[in-house]
Amino acid sequence: MSTHFQKRSSDTEPGFTTASLPDIVFMLLIFFMVSTVLRETDLKVQTSLPSAEALTKIDQKRLISAVYIGPIKQGEKQGQTAVQIDDALIENTSAIRNIMYGKLQEQPKLIVSLKVDRESQMKIVNEVQQELREAGTLRINYSSTREGPR
């Protein structure tokens, strides 16, 4: 009886082959490397977005250019509301039209995503909107999150 068992175990190879495991893992790895978008801008202003119901999704990430409006996080001007585009704070709002005009030349289908802090006042938002009209970037998106349960 015992000999019978021994013979069996010697016939079958124990364990499964792990030779293809690196290939599978590399496939997954490449997928995530390609799909990862590392945050390229570090935010100098605080933006906690408002929530809304009538949301639309923007699937094409490359069309989006973000404008951040909110209170400054650090430094001597901390707490003051400021506008940030890409990596820099905008001192004078009239500079926005040139920045946005340049971006529109590169990407004619540009969508400006306005990431505005919930508590910011409409005054600055309207100033920025007027600048966007001057630049001709008319497609905008008021970035907001899905409304949670009430």
Binding site: L29, T36, A54, Q121, M122, V125, G136, I140, N141, S143
Partner: protein, 201 residues
Amino acid sequence: MAGLLDKRREGRDDVEIPTASMADIAFLLLIFFLVTTTINVDTGIGMTLPPKLDQEQQPPPVKERNLFKILVNSQGDVLIEGELASLDAIRDRVKEQVLNYGSNPDLSENPSKSVISIKTDAETPYRIYVKALDEVMMGFREIYDSVARSGNAPSGDQVLQQTYSSYQEYRTGLEPEEEDQIREAIPRNISIAEPDLGDQQ
């Protein structure tokens, strides 16, 4: 001598890069990318700003009955057509205004002439403005949903050849160059007025 060479060659054939740790290295990288990846889609309320007007050019005139004014002050109080109301009332009032078809002399003549105007104070917080805009957008979405479900505009005109379960489903089925028939029949005219300059008035 030959025997020695043979021995060396044999020894060399056995040398290989150990690949046993390859999977571990790949897993480490994989976990790093898994952790850092954010597959978040940007969501928000889409709008199109009106193009810049020339200095001499006056904005096109809108009849009083077609214009639906919503005023929002800094405390979140709402005036709809001059009457005090609440943010939650906007949605139904917008639907009333757009789908009036001339029956009420104070409301719009037809959907394509109707304009919704949102005006805010300079001090109005952004979240209240978004809330008001959201309510207007939801009003339109509810109209569009009912059109998509029935295939007809509320006036009875046929808009679509077939019916859909929602406006969203109709939109996703559209070709990029195809025109949105529902939006064509009931355009979403929203005007964002410049804010009052508060203390300067």
